[in-house]
Amino acid sequence: MGEDVDRVYSEENEFGARLKGTQSRDCRERFKMVPQKNLNSKEERVMKKVKQILTIIAGLWFLFHGIDLAGAKDPDYPTKPITLYIAYSAGGTTDLGSRAFIEAASKHLGQPFIPINKPGGSGSLAMAQVMHAKPDGYTLSTIAGSSCCVVPFSQDAPYKDMSGFTMLANFHSHFLPLMVRSDAPWQSWKEFLEWARKNPRAAKIGITGALATDFKGIYLWQIAKQEKVDFTFIAFKGSPELLAATLGGHITMYGGAADASTVPYLEEKKLRVLAFASKEKLPGYANIPSTQELYGLSAPIYVGVCGPKGLPGYVLKRLDDAFAKAVKDPEFIRVSDQIGARVVYMSREVMTNYVDKTFNEINDIMKRFREEESKR
């Protein structure tokens, strides 16, 4: 509250300074002097009165507004709609999944969410919005592997670690199938590796984004190192371009996430999955190995919700509760199935630990990658 009173004073000070137009003397004294000086004109006197009243109103508004914010008591949270920044563009798997999730969560919170798509910087621009927002629980953001694990290592990132955020809940996992065209000679991941070992750089693996910025690709790089094979990684703008190049036979392997576009090709067996680089496997592919089983490594291809750090306890409690119920919502589960995402719930604590762990893991891989790159 003390802060707010100061703010009112500074309002007055500024006002006084503007009226007099000088800089040096005590401001409050100057404020008193002003009306005396202008007494001779009636019109000006009325104007002054109006301005004074306006100043007081402005001051009171700041005061009450301040109390409202600093009061730390909003037991009925949420009392107004919650803004959710979606870090990716509209129509993608993350966007559709997030929209379905907040739809389900709002049923339990009694307030709607306002989704705002703010793509850019591998998801970091939306996160930056949240980092600078007031920790009142009314500004949240989606968080995915790219924005929490790779961005902090890039030189122009708006944040360098995850300390400015509160993880709230994870709701989705995507799939990362390593796919080749069905007329390709390799039936299994093992056969593919053998061929790749004999033919260095012949395996052209398409990824979505440059290695240094693609949290999925960097795991494939690490796996190639461990297997001592030499893959050529080719970056594409997005998964549609990557899928077209794979189907056209221009590259060897699809190394991006499965999404709406890949579904029909898997159904019709036009693409063959050799392994999963994600921990989760697509339904019906239980016998295909995952890199988690083979190497203990898998890309953190998860989607969740986060907020700024310092969220008050009553906000956390309400959100924990609503999010835990939302992941069980039948409509949410139905939409998740349709868009090719798996519902994977992680509570606040589990998710916080998981993000910590992955952050360190990728940090290690990135260091090795940078060293190798600088040697070349």
């Binding site: 563009s89 509209a90 129509g91 993608g92 966007d95 559709l96 929209r99 739809e103 705002i116 798509n117 703010k118 793509p119 850019g120 910087g121 591998s122 970091s124 621009l125 930056a128 890039s154 030189q155 122009d156 990132a157 708006p158 750089r201 052209k204 984004g209 440059a210 290695l211 240094a212 910025t213 693609d214 050529t232 990684f233 080719i234 970056a235 594409f236 703008k237 549609p240 371009e241 899928l243 077209a244 190049a245 189907l247 056209g248 036979g249 221009h250 590259i251 709406a260 576009s261 579904v263 029909p264 090709y265 159904e267 019709e268 036009k270 939409v335 349709q338 868009i339 090719g340």
Partner: protein, 503 residues
């Protein structure tokens, strides 16, 4: 006969009251957002997507598709009236459309844009109906090397885009390529020209770039004049509809633009942006009066406007037959289909005939609705030109600011737009043109990434551009284009030098 039967099936599916209503809502919303600069179909579609969860999949797609092609109709309006292109494909419409408006021929320009869009939309639909599956397999043959040769060919178009000096156009193109480099390097991920500003990591957005370069600079440029009571019009408005003479001039450009646009629109790697530029270049090349281009030639409006509408239809080919969305709008449509449990792809047409043919039928209907909706509006739009500058300009600025902000809900885009507005103003003062810069800005990044992808594919060998038939053909065509424009220049050199001196 099969096709007629199928079309009948489609029409019987959509001729229900609710589907008709959704079609109308779609094209109506589309027209509105198309007219507002910067506010594209993506925002409106993602807002309305949840509303479609409760209706049938056909109704949902009918409405969302209506917004998309409806927005293409409206997109030309601001280009012609006030020189503000809402998207890259309307940039070339500005060149001659705005000049026509200044000469009091805004009506015919808007009219030919609407009729051209209608004809192109219909031709594109016939294409979508007849040749979608075979075209899809050709589209897949376009890998990085093929895109590289296509982009090279595209860059040669800038020779025809320039209405003044070619050297200046090439300088502007080089500048456009450099601005296109801003952001992350596509293969290594390192930052280029970012200067520690996270908002620049993804590069410069197209909307703030073109709106600043054309719209804001137009406002600034006119501020130099005496604004008292003046309006955009220099002369009286001459008629609201294209005359028979206009039609005669526009018919072939519309046909050529439609066919070209459709085929370029099919390519999933974003050939659509090329279509309107390519159409303009072709019309200027085949015209008997190329000197009229840039000064209000109706062919320069008819061709590109048709091309970008046909490209809209072409973009549905990879979505329906390959399940590959070629832009964000298509990704949204794909999302809408998936949520309703309908999967596009190779078997989509045979598995869901009522949906595919229903969408086709709705688009025929939607095109007719759009024409009916847009023609009466022309009379109203033309009146905008009578509004004095001092009222019109603040409004233009306001709409530009809202539009630039709405794309990514980002204030940095607004600042960028203003910066490009200032740049565009200086460019106009010193007689540098914006269109070649926009073309290079769009094609540059695609050229770069396809070149680097190709070289990674070939382990660094440039032979990859000669051993693949489509690529080789593209490269040879590029060389011919360059030679054919350089050789006459050398021959005419004696004539042109004194001419440039008089300028």
């Amino acid at each position: 006969m099969d096709i007629l039967n199928n079309l009948f099936l489609g029409f019987s599916a959509i001729l229900e009251l609710d589907n008709l209503l959704f079609c109308f809502i779609g094209v109506f919303v589309g027209t509105l957002i198309g007219v507002l600069p910067g506010i594209g179909p993506v925002g409106a579609m993602s807002l309305l997507l949840p509303a479609t969860y409760k209706v049938s999949s056909l109704s949902a797609v009918i409405m969302l598709a209506g917004i998309y092609y409806g927005a293409q109709y409206g997109g030309s309006t601001t280009s012609i009236l006030v020189n503000i292109p809402g998207e890259a494909s309307s940039v070339v419409t500005c060149l001659d459309g705005y000049q026509m408006a200044r000469q009091g021929r805004a009506g015919p320009a808007l009219g030919i844009a609407a009729f051209g869009s209608f004809i192109a939309g219909t031709i594109g639909l016939v294409g979508l109906m007849l040749v979608a599956p075979p075209l899809a397999s050709i589209a897949l043959q376009f890998g990085p090397p093929e895109y590289f040769s296509l982009m090279c060919l595209g860059l040669t178009l800038l020779i025809y885009l320039a209405s003044g000096s070619v050297i200046r156009a090439i300088m502007m193109a080089a500048f456009g390529v450099i601005i296109g480099c801003i952001g992350q390097d596509p293969e290594t991920g390192s930052s280029r020209y970012v200067f520690g500003i996270p908002e620049l990591l993804d590069g410069i957005g197209l909307a703030p770039f073109v709106m600043g370069l054309f719209g804001i600079s137009e406002v600034l440029f006119n501020l130099e004049q005496d604004l008292q009571g003046r309006s955009v019009l220099k002369t009286e408005i001459e008629g609201l509809l294209p005359t028979w003479k206009d039609w005669k001039k526009s018919m072939m450009p519309i046909l050529r633009g439609s066919i070209l646009g459709f085929f370029l629109g099919v390519l999933p790697g974003g050939g659509a942006v090329l279509s309107s530029f390519a159409s303009y270049a072709i019309e200027k090349k085949v015209s008997r009066h190329p000197e009229d281009f840039g000064k209000g030639a109706i062919e320069g409006v008819a061709g590109p406007e048709s091309a970008n509408n046909a490209a809209t239809d072409g973009a549905f080919v990879p979505l329906f037959t390959l399940c590959i969305p070629s832009n964000v709008v298509m990704a949204l449509l794909l999302g809408a289909l998936m949520i309703h449990g309908v999967t596009p792809g190779p078997l989509f047409i045979s598995k869901n005939p009522q949906i595919f043919w229903g969408i086709i039928a709705s688009m025929y209907l939607g095109n007719v609705l759009l024409l009916v909706l847009n023609l009466p509006l022309i009379g109203i739009w033309v009146q905008i030109l009578r509004v004095p500058y001092k009222i019109l300009f603040p409004l233009i600025l306001l709409f530009c600011l809202i539009g630039a902000y709405s794309v990514n809900s980002s204030t940095s885009d607004v600042i960028l737009m203003l910066v490009f507005g200032l740049l565009g103003y200086l460019m106009r003062k010193y007689k540098f043109e914006g269109a070649p810069m926009v073309l290079a800005f769009v094609l540059g990044p695609m050229l770069e990434s396809s070149l680097r992808q190709s070289l990674l594919m070939s382990d660094g060998s440039f032979l990859i551009f000669l051993t693949r038939p489509i690529t080789a053909a593209g490269i040879i065509a590029t060389i011919i284009m360059i030679l054919s424009s350089i050789i006459p220049t050398f021959r005419r050199k004696r004539k042109t030098i004194p001419m440039e001196e008089t300028l």
